[in-house]
Amino acid sequence: MLVNTKWLRQYLQPACSDEQMVNAFSIIGLEIEEHIDLAEELKRVIIGFVRDKQPVSDNNNLFLCQVEVTPGQTVPIACAATYDVPVGKGVPVALPGVKLPTGVVIKEGNVHGHNSSGMICCDGELGLMAQDTGLRTFDDESLIGKSITSAITIDESLVDLNILPNRPDCLGTIGVAREVAAHFDLNLVYPNTELPDTGKTDPSTATPARIDEPELCPRYMCQRITGVKVAPSPPWLQNFLLAIGSRPINNIVDITNYVLFEWGQPLHAFDHAYIEGNQIIVRRMKPEESLTLLDDRVIDGKTQPLVIADANKPVALAGIMGGANSQTDDQSTDILLEAACFDSVCVRKSARALNVSSDSSYRFERGTDPNRMLIGAMKRACSLILELAGGRLNGSLTDTYPTKREPKQLKLTPERVSSYLGLNLDAPTIRKSLAKLEIEADDTLNIHAPTWRVDINHPVVLIEDIARIVGFDQIPLQPRDTAGTLGGRSATDQVRQQVTGTLIGAGFLECRNLPLEPGDTNHAFRPLTGDPVKLQNPMRADMTYVRTSLIPGLLRVIDHNVRHGATSYRFFEFDRTFEQSGESPIEAWSIAAVAAGPIQQAQWSGDRSSYDFHHLKGIAENLLDQCNAPTATFQHIDLDGFTPGATAAIKLNDQTIGVIGQINPKILKSSRFQLPLYAFELNLESFITNFDDVKPFTKLVRTPPVTRDLAFVANASVTYAQLEQTIHDAAAQIIARDAADSSLSLQTVACIDEYRGKQIPSDCRSLALRLVFRDPTRTLTADEVNHVMEHIQQTLTATHGAELRV
């Protein structure tokens, strides 16, 4: 809400300085969206002298002036007839390119065939409160081309306040002034609401109002005023509206707008001539009815919004906008002024359903006062209309108020306030603080909350008011005086610490991606059990689904980095994937990594190899070990996102807990990326439950191990996993048979070489394995190990046709 500080000062006694006031806003809790320092903003507005002024032939509301804007040089500027621009005097001129404080940017223009190179600005257009005629004039010709700030003193500014939803009472200047007055301990001066005596009226000519929906319209007031003369408003009023970015229309409409900004209470003026049956009914719109609004939009009654109707038809959308069928115009002489209170949810629902909003609906949606502010606004508007548009009150004031809204009664104790704030306050201090906000409290802190404070629904709100008035800075820093609690982190968070640490150690950069996806890769990287989660209202088509896998995000990271010349490709993300399972979504913590290119940067020594499937598998295995899942197995799987034949499902106890493979090159956007890219993703949720189990100690073995290497050629279709299993089984079998009473065992099998190529049939490969035997109780003899090795060799040959190499 735009507020001119000079205007605001009128309501304060004694007044405070501009600077004091602006500084106070944020301390009070009125958030400043923008502070427009007019003395600064108006520096580019200059003084030009009007040398000539001619009517524009085909429009008698327009003049074309010749204005001397630099000594000896005039430019043509069109101006409206609203202000009497005096030939021979200086006026404020904004030349093309200047941005006025109210947001208007001046452009070179063409008005009815005439060039116009600027704008002659009245006070309101400059954001200033009006003086005299509303157009400032200057006699001193030495001011030509100089800034107006050098000729006038500007002691006002514009403040755009962001009034938070709980405080609609501050959506009027009086409400803002009340807060400022409370802060500086000043008096709040309410505007004059005395009605002038316009003679005796006949009570029977009043327009009665009936409320059919008392829940939705707690109070309806209206006053008929007859004999008004609709005309342009006086300069002060027009300029007031211009300064806060509103357009003057005529005196009646301008007064209702002015009072809205002053009291925060919306008003509406009907042309009484169009109110059939001299009657107002507040009711729901009938489905078959229609209403043309002031902005020419036609609404129908399908959603049955609350309307103001006369005897036959709706004449306004209650609390939102008047109807075109009853609006005041230049011809109106008999008006019906409405001030009412509408239910906030009702107005909000109608405004949403019909997609109409206004300054009025904005206030009603947040809540208005059915008592003092409503009555004050009504009287203020009547008084201004009688003063500025003439006429007389016709009939008495109609006031339909079925259920009176009483001030809310609340109870506070100094103990409660002090315990809440951590600051000792006694009852008199609390009373005094509240009184500054016009909140009444007696000695024992029985409190009556004024009805304009719609936010006060609980005593704690009053504690906030007390804190604001006493000052948040008065509350000490005081550590708790309560039972301690043990800080800590969840198991998931511990896993996050450890596995991200492992990947960072392996050279991977952590990413944070947008989890919203186009959906084309929903099933590409992971077999889903449910459906992907889809958004009802995506902001873009390519952000419709919540991700089912972390890999697509990482592929976008690769694309982005290829475009920006990255030097290494190792990224990971630890986050959630989502699936819909019936009504409720499943969120599962996952970790995914992608890698391509050299494992180490090019340097003068060291490893020159590049990432391949098994490098990444090694990293995945490290993570599995870390998560107490070393027994996970890898089995071929086909998924669209991966290259066929180079993809594996990672399984634990027959459950798929992850996927690893080479990314299908077709899926990468950037064709510039030529390296084979590998990725894995582990669904941690499915196996981290035993993560923080305490690991038991295994006694250290001091007897020497016996190491034997075994090299053989086998058909390539026999997997390593099968061979290793056969070896373990064979060892266990022979030991059980021939050395059952010993503690000899085959401890580890490691693959130390794989070879395919010359000297070996094309469908075969040669493997070299290293076997380690041990007995924790004694030193093994060569013979007994040889005996086991022989059996292993025979079994390999028998089972897999393996041919030993010596």
Partner: protein, 333 residues
């Protein structure tokens, strides 16, 4: 003094001169060692002078001994001196030295994302203050995200959120504050000190300061007499850990449907006040919705924008950097 005596004394001085000159020209430890042997060893040029001692008259033996010892001392000191200067020059003292200035064979380390490290840092500080960290759902019920937090369906405060809804009617959480309902139910009877962090969503077009997702950290503390003073103390502790000991905070009255009194907190950082968090005393309605009796318990809550704190601390000027995940960006932190 006999000629003999004078001779030996002169020889001692000369031998020392020769030794010191050679020592000072030595360029490595091996050379120094062989010079030590050549001059101070059993048959060294200085040691050997003592053999002439037998011809020196008894009353002059003292003077000769002194001269030879002085020569020994000069050579020894020169060796020590040269060792030190060789060591401090950075040049190799061994003959077959490797070039230690060749670049190390590095395995490039990865890095944490600045949002993660920011969340982690705040988390660790709060854990130290007795808070327990846990993660809570990103896809929420309307109740947990709004209604339970004193923001019913037609409340104008819902305008402060641009909410994504899923097709099944759930809400992509608009703030981590949604965790309060879970935490109240999970922790049960106070004292409760709980914290969470993570991603939130808003229907927002992308520019330098807006993104459809952002990260928050939210905490609550509940007990019989938790006060606003306690909240202020806690936030000063947190802010001084994050931004330095001489931190200044400013508490401005504000509005959140789930706290009263509510305060926006600004931190004075490099000369300007920056808004970093929202806080306040938990509304009785919220405690009630979470199953606690508000007449018996009270507590504070606060929420921090992690993206914002990360951007302030690192001086990042465009929020999109945080989500582009460019190598050159991520390597910096």
């Amino acid at each position: 003094m006999t000629t003999q005596t004078n001779d030996i004394i002169a020889q001692a001085v000369q031998a020392a001169d020769t030794a010191v000159a050679a020592i000072q020209a030595a360029t490595n430890a091996e050379e120094l060692e062989s010079l030590r042997v050549a001059h101070l060893g059993k048959k060294g040029s200085i040691t050997i002078l003592l053999r002439g001692m037998k011809d020196v008259p008894a009353d002059q033996k003292g003077a000769v001994g002194q001269a030879v010892n002085a020569a020994k001392q000069r050579a020894t000191e020169a060796i020590e001196q040269q060792k030190k200067s060789l060591a401090s020059s950075g040049a190799p003292t061994a003959k077959n030295a490797i070039d230690v200035s060749m670049p190390g064979i590095r395995t490039l380390n990865g890095k944490r994302h600045p949002i993660s490290s920011t969340i982690e840092e705040i988390k660790s500080i709060m854990i130290g203050l007795g808070f327990h960290y846990d993660d809570y759902p990103e896809i929420e019920t309307e109740f947990n995200n709004f209604d339970g937090l004193n923001t019913p369906e037609w409340h104008p405060a819902r305008d402060m959120h641009d909410t994504f809804y899923t097709e099944s009617g759930r809400v992509m959480r608009t703030h981590t504050t949604a965790f309060q309902m879970h935490a109240l139910r999970n922790y049960g009877t106070p004292p409760i000190r709980a914290i969470t962090g993570g991603r939130c969503y808003r229907c927002d077009t992308i520019d330098a300061s807006h993104y459809p997702v952002f990260h928050q950290i939210d905490a609550i503390a509940i007990d019989k007499n938790i006060s606003f003073a306690d909240l202020k103390w806690t936030l000063y502790e947190l802010a001084s850990s994050l931004f330095g000991d001489d931190i200044k905070l400013q508490f401005r009255p504000s509005f959140f449907p789930f706290t009263t009194p509510s305060a926006e907190v600004d931190v004075l950082f490099k000369g300007s006040w920056l808004e970093i968090l929202g806080s306040g005393m938990m509304r009785p309605e919220v405690l009630q919705a979470g199953g606690l009796d508000p007449e018996q318990w009270q507590g504070f809550a606060f929420g921090i924008g992690a993206d914002r704190v990360a951007m302030i601390r690192h001086g990042i000027d465009d929020i999109r950097h945080l989500y582009d995940n460019e190598e050159a960006f991520l390597r910096q932190f």
